[in-house]
Symmetry: C2
Subunit: 218 residues, 2 copies
DNA sequence: GTCTATATATTGATAGAC
DNA sequence: GTCTATCAATATATAGAC
């Protein structure tokens, strides 16, 4: 599945991407990247004048990967626009599960670690967040008739990102899927209450009628 | 307000606490801590065998500070238990505002930066999260009659932490209070919908009747 | 408990041949 | 574009006098 690029530049980006994700930016040494990517120092600095430039390339790649690598596999599997959103959340659950809650959201990690000190990186992190929110926003627009008209779609999309990031953080810290699942349960309940009232407060919960993606406990 | 302890050990902890908060753990050098605390290398290593031991002391201090420094000023100002929760969130908003969205939650920062590699630190971070959740849980218990009986209070308290951490992350990354305020607005809406139905789906929104803390935009 | 001096490893980055 | 050798700075940590 995951093939190593013969292209040196791409191999450096891919390697840095993985190490930054698993260890963080500061904790990852240039020497470690070089060793793992099987590249020599001279080559790295031929492509990237500084370590930060490599970071920026990683963040650019995340932007490019958002649709083809993250969203498309889910979008193609799930039709219902609201279930798309929860399918996206389930993707982060799978990542947590597969890595014993060691890997979280790479953008969130870097946002808190280096968002303040590196201005260009911060902007790219913000771009990545925006792309994610926009994708959710489109889902909400596609479910327009099921949401109360006075609900701000962009704000709700931002809320979904907020919940995902906070949930991943807690899951990693507790080393358990429970905080993540709990958060998704609460968000689902909120969506149920939102979609239940086409007119405000009157209809019964529609929870039982809706399809659910599989989120079996570990 | 903030006085510098004459006690060397405490001065080191306070200084490290601030630098870890503003720059992160890895980005903060021991030399920088020594200079700012006006302490010599020998003294630091007399108290703390390694830099990580200093980190652990910082995290222990956060645990001790939770009630007296973070909660008590808010608890004493606000009576209503649900407004206490939103008052707590407003505390993080103030921190963001005062620091131009540079300072977030120190526990959240460290959770994502070093939660994976340092086992003891991770446990202390989890302890800190637990203390925070428990405090919110107590508020929810105190508002027991206003919440539907089938709502899991512990889960909802965890959700509040999730939202706070995710909201702070986005605010710092966007360098704007808007994502934070948006998240709080959504969470408020959720609480309104929860507290509106003592019996499920039937009562009108109680939003207009409730006191609100001041969350004027910047 | 605190001081100064210093050890040792690693950091990000560079030079210059090929 | 890639190679090896290496730089200068900084990292955490230690030694031993006071």
């Amino acid at each position: 599945m995951k093939l190593r690029p013969d292209n040196t530049r791409d191999r450096l980006i891919d390697t840095a991407m993985e190490l930054f994700h698993s260890q963080g930016y500061q904790a990852t040494g240039v020497a470690q990247i070089l060793k793992k990517a099987e590249v020599n120092s001279g080559s790295l600095y031929y492509f990237f004048p500084t370590k930060e430039d490599l970071l920026l390339a990683v963040l650019e790649k995340y932007k490019l990967m958002l649709h083809p690598a993250l969203l498309e596999p889910i979008w193609s599997r799930i039709d219902d626009p609201i279930e798309k959103v929860f399918g996206l959340l389930d993707g982060y659950r799978r990542l947590l599960m597969m890595t014993e809650c060691n890997y979280g959201c790479p953008i969130g990690n870097l946002a808190l670690e280096i968002g303040h000190s590196h201005a260009k990186a911060r902007q790219l992190l913000a771009d990545n967040f925006k792309g994610w929110r926009d994708a959710v926003h489109e889902c909400l627009n596609a479910a327009d008739d099921r949401l109360p008209s006075d609900v701000d779609r962009a704000q709700l999309a931002s809320f979904v990102l907020t919940v995902m990031e906070g949930a991943v953080m807690q899951a990693r810290t507790e080393r358990s899927l429970k905080p993540f699942d709990d958060a998704v349960t609460q968000l689902r309940d909120y969506f149920d209450r939102l979609t239940a009232d086409g007119t405000q407060w009157g209809a019964p919960a529609a929870s039982e009628l809706k399809p659910r993606i599989n989120t079996d406990k570990e």
